[in-house]
Amino acid sequence: MSTRERTLWIVVGILIVVYALFPVAWIVSLSFKSSADISNAQFLPTEFSSENYAVILTGDASSLFLPALVNSFGICLIATAISCLLSMFCAYAIARIDFPGKRVILSTALAVAIFPTISIVTPLFNLWRQIGLYDTWPGLIIPYLSLTLPISIWTLSAFFREIPWEMEQAAQVDGATPWQAFRKVIVPLAAPGVFTTAIIAFFLAWNDFIYGISLTSTEAARPVPAALGLFSGASQFESPNGPIAAAAVIVTIPVVILVLIFQRRIVAGLTNGAVKG
């Protein structure tokens, strides 16, 4: 490859990195602007200030932001754990066991995944109010399963199809029961796939806004995206833009770290389920 071609590739690469990081860099830059600096009509702050972080972590907005952070982590982790556990068994059955209804299960997962969330939220809003699940953790965990279960079943089924299942048969020949073969041989082999699925499912739940804004009303269960959406409505501070930017940076950091560490796996998981690899 010629030097010119190499330079061209590097330029294209830099362009793509700039494309991906530009809005992130902007929100980070904005989060370090002081309130006098917010409207300076420039990309960068004139001088770095941490006052926005102070507002959301210890100041006025902390009572809105910190509980939301705890809610989001708790609710998303529980929803992810439940859907990973259930879809592990489900995907194993789909990849491994000969039974009628596989197509039905996979088609249903697809249908649920493409169904508009807002159409589900309307009746739930009504029902949750009647049975007391409105504004509670379970009241969000249950609908989050409708986001995380379909993608988990898909991705895991795709991962499980790639597993060398001869090892399971070998274990069974050696006298293991199907259950032992599953637990002792397959689970360790399947762990990376399960982990990837968990990350993708977590992203989906973490990203939710409609359920969060519709099914909660206080900091008892309100997740971060919904809290961010309400920041602008609150008039407790002059311009909410700086604190929102700081909160956005805080919730974005863990996700970016996960992506950087597990990028190869996430790409495999995202595409395996959707296009036969």
């Binding site: 494309y19 059955a93 739930l124 971060v224 036969k276």
Partner: protein, 319 residues
């Protein structure tokens, strides 16, 4: 005669299922299959199935949450009200517009990204992959705020940077009017979801046999000919699946609209209209009817793709 027999044998599946009277092993396998898959399947059906049925039922009533005693059965009355209201058709036009613009741009941009990724130097490939995943992983609400703040009058820099464009001055308000806020909404959506579409296209691109490319090259085909005659036809399935997923996703646009405009100045999308009717105005009957109509539209798009463009969804199921 012997040929026929051989052919029949060849067509027999590896594990023949006896038509009548399952063997004990087959029966216990079926039971185990449903035992393992049942809970996930059942829960999924329950969580979505119940609300769908309830929404269809609610949509037939004139029912306001704050005034439950005066609810009355109006059959298709709510649908008649909605479909004859310009608010619905404005939201419909906004949604269709956003869908067409974003999906078209994303397809081109995503394809270009996928081509770069597959051709890129081995050394920079992981960097590109990580970079491209970042928009995907960022919360939609956060991305919406980032774009809104960049354009807004009180904190933005866009007017300063792009003041050389005719019509853009220091006090151009991008969130005044209908089209300019929707332009910013589209930008945010495109930035956030192009990576997803490009990853799906990349997977499809990787499936196109290298031999075909080489053969076309040897026969003297130009880059454009190779692209349009060899690569794109061979990854048609992947393109259609990516297109279908993104179209359905774009049609449900809500978060960006909520954050950036809150539906002001006729910028409401269908999902936002349903939200406003149900959650803000607690018009459960009307809101449910909007939700049902939105779900039907999504179903229609899906049918159009599957029947009209012959998208093979078994591809999407990873079979």
């Amino acid at each position: 005669m012997s040929q026929t027999i051989t052919r029949t044998e060849g067509a027999t599946p590896e594990t023949p299922v006896p038509p009548k009277g399952l063997s004990d092993r087959a029966r216990s396998e079926r039971r185990l299959g449903w035992l393992l898959a049942g809970p996930a399947f059942g829960l999924m059906v329950l969580i979505t199935g119940y609300p769908i049925v309830q929404a269809v039922f609610d949509s037939l009533w004139d029912y306001r949450l704050t005034d439950p005693s005066s609810s009355s059965f109006v059959f298709l009355g709510n649908y008649a009200v909605i479909l004859s209201d310009p608010i619905w058709w404005t939201a419909f036009a906004v949604t269709v517009g956003i869908t067409i613009v974003t999906v078209a741009v994303e397809l081109v941009l995503g394809f270009a990204l996928a081509l770069v990724m597959i051709k890129a130097l081995r050394a920079i490939r992981p960097v590109l992959r990580a970079a491209i995943l970042i928009p995907y992983a960022i919360i939609t609400v956060v991305s919406a705020f980032a774009w809104q703040f960049a354009f807004s009058l009180d904190s933005g820099f866009v007017n300063t940077w792009f003041s050389w464009i005719p019509g853009v001055t220091a006090d151009t308000d991008w969130f005044d009017g209908t089209l300019s806020p929707l332009f910013v909404v589209c930008l945010a959506e495109i930035w956030k979801t192009t990576p997803f579409i490009s990853l799906l296209l990349l997977a499809g691109l990787a499936q196109v046999p290298e031999v075909l490319q080489e053969a076309a090259k040897v026969d003297g085909a130009s880059w454009w000919q190779r692209m349009s005659r060899v690569t794109i036809p061979n990854m048609k399935a992947a393109i259609m699946v990516a297109l279908l997923f993104r179209t359905l996703d774009a049609f449900r646009v809500f978060d960006s609209i909520f954050v950036m405009t809150a539906g002001a100045n006729n910028t409401e999308s269908l999902a936002f209209l349903a939200y406003r009717q149900t959650i803000s105005r607690v018009e459960i009957g009307l809101g449910s009817a909007v939700s049902v109509l939105l779900a039907l539209s999504v179903l229609l798009i899906c049918l159009l793709f599957v029947k009209g463009f012959r998208v093979d969804l078994s591809q999407a199921r990873g079979e």
